[in-house]
Each structure stands twice: as structure tokens, then as C-alpha cells.
Symmetry: C2
Subunit: 139 residues, 2 copies
């Protein structure tokens, strides 16, 4: 009974969190599509003219991503019905990923967000500089 406090509270917290997620599944989904790699991948796929990209193309288009995260994210997107995975059993295997209708509709939104980032980047930078400067002055 000695070491119960921490573990017990953890379990309780976890349970409470799960209960919340159950009550508000939207947050769960929102958190998922708010994922860094999801945004970048869906965005990349959405920008493709053909709407289709190969695995290695994605890896090259998104410099910071590891195979692990790429595969993992692609898998979850496929599972959620946002992308389709098409395997062409040629000699060097070819795998194409494409947004579904559902994925494309999300892609439009994320493109808006990306556009917002592009449009307001300067503004954000200016705020950052001002903030950092005043922080430096204060210190």
C-alpha cells in the first residue's frame, strides 16, 4: 500500500482523461489532425497536381520526416480513410498515396491554414522580435 499514491493517481487521471475523450471525441480527432506530420503530409498530397505521390516522393518533399513517422502517419491516415494506398507490383515495387474525397476536403482546410501561415508569417516574426527584445531589455 506504500507505493499506491502515485500509480493510483495516475490511473485515476488516465481514467478521467479517457472518460473525457469518450464524451468529446471531437477533441480526439482534432488532436489527431492537428498532428505536425498529418498537416505536412496532407498538405503535400493536396498540392500535388496529380493528387498522387510515391512514398519516397513524400519523404523528399518533407525533409524533416523519418521513415518511421512517414509510414506511421500514412498508416493512420489510411486507417481513417483520408488517403488510399495503391501498390503496383512492378519489379521495383511502386506505392502511391492519394487523398480520398474526405482527405481532400480536409486538405482544403489545411491549405487555408498553410496560406494563413504564409500570409501572416511576417507579422508573427515581428511580434516575436518585439517580445524577445522586451524580454532582453527586462533582463
Amino acid at each position: 500500500m506504500a507505493t499506491r499514491t502515485a500509480a493510483d493517481r495516475r490511473e485515476a487521471a488516465r481514467a478521467a482523461y479517457d472518460a473525457f475523450v469518450k464524451d468529446c471525441p471531437t477533441s480526439q480527432l482534432l488532436a489527431r489532425i492537428s498532428d505536425k506530420w498529418v498537416g505536412l503530409i496532407v498538405s503535400a498530397l493536396g498540392q500535388s497536381e496529380t493528387g498522387s505521390m510515391r512514398y519516397s516522393d513524400l519523404g523528399r518533399k518533407i525533409p524533416g520526416v523519418s521513415q518511421k513517422m512517414l509510414t506511421q502517419t500514412l498508416r493512420s491516415l489510411e486507417r481513417d480513410g483520408l488517403v488510399t494506398r495503391t501498390v503496383t507490383p512492378s519489379v521495383p515495387v511502386r506505392v502511391d498515396y492519394r487523398l480520398t474525397e474526405l482527405g481532400a476536403s480536409l486538405g482544403d482546410l489545411l491549405s487555408s491554414v498553410k496560406l494563413w501561415a504564409e500570409r501572416h508569417f511576417d507579422e508573427v516574426s515581428a511580434h516575436r522580435d518585439a517580445y524577445d527584445e522586451s524580454a532582453t531589455a527586462a533582463a
Copy 2:
């Protein structure tokens, strides 16, 4: 010079990544606003009728968040000029957070994303079930 391989490659990779970020700062900003807590906080702030929420209100509104992450995220949002932090020096100190114009414009977009999540949650769930079922059948 013996242990140079790993560290060196890490450094090179980091440098390459930084160079990319420099060339494409949008990705950086996109990744930042794609953060889980950013989405939830901006969303919460955007949903508030007065547009203003206290620190503890946010903590209560977003069940999974720790003080650490809440403060940290709020700080970066303030730094980026997306929220304002107003301190009222009453006896129990009162701190209100409010979206700026800039933050509100992002909030609208994120609300759209949230709305998308609400509208398409069932669809995503159905896809998930189908995917899991076929995976189970295959195993």
C-alpha cells in the same frame, strides 16, 4: 575522432534541417500552429463569448493539459502575437488571456477544422472500423 560518425551525421542532419527551415519558414510556423495544445487553446479562446478567459478557466476547459504545457503554450502564443496577457493586480491576481486580431483570424480557421472534425467524425470512425476488421481478418 573515433566517435565522430554518429555525432557528425547528427550535426549534419540538424544543419540540413535548419537550412530547410530557413528556406521554408512556413513549415516551421505551420508545425507550430499544428500543435495539439495550440489548437485546443485557440479554439477554447475563440469559443468564449467575451473572447477572454482566465488561466484557471483554460485549465478547466482543457482537461488533459498540465500547468506546464498550458503556461508554455500560452507564452509562445503571446510571443507570436496571437494572444494578449492582461494582468489585473487585484488582491487575488487576475490574469486574462484574449485572442488578438491575428489570433482570432487563426481561430476562425481552426474552428473550421474543428467543425470538419465534428462533421466527419462518423465517417472516419466507419473507415477505422472497416480497416481494423480487415486487418483482423487478415491476421
